[in-house]
Amino acid sequence: MDSYTIGKFCGILVGVVIGIIIVWIALKWSKNDGKVRAKYDERQTAIRGRGYALAFYTTICLIAIYALFLSEVPSFPMMPDIALMIIVFIGVILHVSYCIWNGAYFSLNENKTRVMICFVLVGLLNMVIGINNIIKGSAFTDGKLNIQSLNLICGLLFVAIFLVIFIRKVVPVKDEDEEE
């Protein structure tokens, strides 16, 4: 193994460790009781289960459609790696949207304001990096989106989450929001 490979491996390892530490701190900070684990009540757990199933089957269907019909299309505007990541993100946004809409996204011990602060930071960071990659032109290979555009897609995911939270707050759902 040459020194470049060792250096690259060590860099990735340090990045992963720092990432885990940051996520751990963010999870702990976003809880009212200082615990990392989120607590959901029985209805929220059931709703989340349905959300996971919905996201799971949608992801499977989209992957099958992509593999059978789109992966070999020369004019398809993205590389296979980013296409699969976009499908994963579609699954995530479906699950998150379903849970938000049914009041099962935020756990009982979660501080919503702190969670939103984390989301804004992560979303903004990804947006800035993503837009920078677009401007530099590194997000495209032969006119197709490549994996460098992942940050932008991730930023858009957070925009979509904010949008769902906003719509859920603004649009009244029958019999749901009344506090009697």
């Binding site: 209805r43 929220q44 009041g103 099962a104 009982l108 019999d175 749901e176 506090e179 009697e180």
Partner: protein, 69 residues
């Protein structure tokens, strides 16, 4: 079917849905769904609600129509 007895028992203690939800350890949306009849709670949660409101299971959750069937 709406659980009006639960709503009345909560109102009698001058509790909001949020306060009752916190007392039994669920979200306000869950308490709302139980009152609206959109969610059937487990027996464990029913007992918690009864304990907080000082009522029996029969008083809050027993449906006479169902018993007749």
């Amino acid at each position: 079917m709406k659980n009006l007895r639960l709503k009345a028992a909560r109102a009698a203690l001058d509790m909001s849905q949020q306060q009752l939800a916190e007392a039994v350890g669920v979200s306000r949306q869950t308490m709302n769904a139980i009152e609206k009849g959109d969610y059937n709670p487990t027996i464990k949660l029913c007992r918690k609600i009864c304990r907080v409101l000082g009522k029996s299971l029969d008083e809050l959750f027993w449906e006479e129509d169902e018993a007749d069937e």
